[in-house]
Symmetry: C2
Subunit: 160 residues, 2 copies
C-alpha cells in the first residue's frame, strides 16, 4: 500500500478555484460589459433586453412564451414589457382566441433599436470568445449546457 491512507477531506474553500464563484464572476463581468452596450445607448436593462431580444427573435409572442424562452418570471416580463411599451419600442395586442393573453410585437422604433443592438451584441460575444479556437468554443458551450442541465436537476432556483 502506498502512503495514501485516506484522502483528507478539504477543510477550506479556495474562492479563486471554486466553480460557483468563478462562474458568478465571469457572468457578472460579461453581463456588465454587454449591459453597457444597451444600457448607455438605449437606456434599457437586462430584463428589457431579454424581452426585446425574444420578441425580435419570435416576432409575435405572448408574455408566457417569452418566459419559457428567456428564464424570466411573468412579473419581470410584465414590468419589462410595460417599460418597453412606454418608450414606444413594443406594442401589445389581445389574442382574440384567448383574451387573457397579449401578443407582443416590436414597433418600427423597437425594430430599429433591436437592429442596432443585434450586431453590437453579436460582436461583443465574438470578442469574448476571440481567444478560443472554434473547437474550444464548441467544447465550452457543450460543457456549459451539461453543467446547466445538472444544476437544474440538482437544484433549480429559477422562477416558477
Amino acid at each position: 500500500m502506498s502512503s495514501a491512507s485516506k484522502p483528507e477531506p478539504q477543510r477550506s474553500v479556495t474562492l479563486a478555484t471554486f466553480l460557483p464563484y468563478r462562474l458568478n464572476v465571469l457572468a457578472t463581468v460579461v453581463s456588465g460589459g454587454l449591459g453597457r452596450i444597451y444600457g448607455e445607448r438605449f437606456g434599457i436593462g437586462i430584463p428589457e433586453w431579454r424581452v426585446l431580444a425574444t420578441i425580435g427573435e419570435f416576432k409575435r409572442i405572448t408574455a408566457k412564451a417569452i418566459g419559457q424562452h428567456s428564464e424570466m418570471g411573468k412579473v419581470k416580463i410584465s414590468r419589462a414589457a410595460a417599460s418597453l411599451e412606454e418608450r414606444g419600442f413594443i406594442q401589445r395586442e389581445a389574442n382574440v382566441d384567448d383574451l387573457r393573453e397579449m401578443f407582443l410585437t416590436l414597433t418600427p422604433a423597437g425594430q430599429s433599436v433591436y437592429d442596432e443592438i443585434v450586431p453590437l451584441a453579436l460582436n461583443y460575444a465574438a470578442q469574448l470568445t476571440a481567444d478560443l479556437s472554434p473547437d474550444e468554443e464548441a467544447t465550452f458551450g457543450m460543457l456549459l449546457d451539461r453543467l446547466l442541465a445538472r444544476a437544474r436537476k440538482e437544484f433549480d432556483g429559477s422562477e416558477p
Copy 2:
C-alpha cells in the same frame, strides 16, 4: 466559385445560444442553489459568504485584501463584515502598524459556521460537475479562465 458570395451578417440574436445569456443563466441557477445552503441554514447572503470564505481561507485579513481576493468593493465588504460581526461570526482588530486598517478574523462561532458550510459547498460544487470527466472539468475551468481574462480586457465592469 461556390454559391457562397458573402457571409450574411446575422440579423437576430438567438437567446438560447447567446453566450452572455447562457453564462448568466448558469451562474444564476448555481448561485441560487448554493445560496440556499448558507442562506436557509445560516441566514447569510452572497457577500457575507464571500467575506466569510475569504477570512476562512486567509485566517486574518484586511477588508482591502478581501476585496482583492473576492471581486467585491469596499462598500459591500464593509456592510457584509458589519453584518457578520453583528451575528458574532467575525471579529475586528486594528492593525497597530496602520490604524486605518482592520484585521478580520473568525470567532469560534464563525469558524464553526464556516466548518459546517465548507463541506456542503464543496459537495455542491462536486455534484455540479458530477457528469463531467476530470479532463472535461479541467478543460472547462481552463476555458472559463481564458474567457474571464478576455472579458476583463475587453470590458471590466467590476468595482474599483
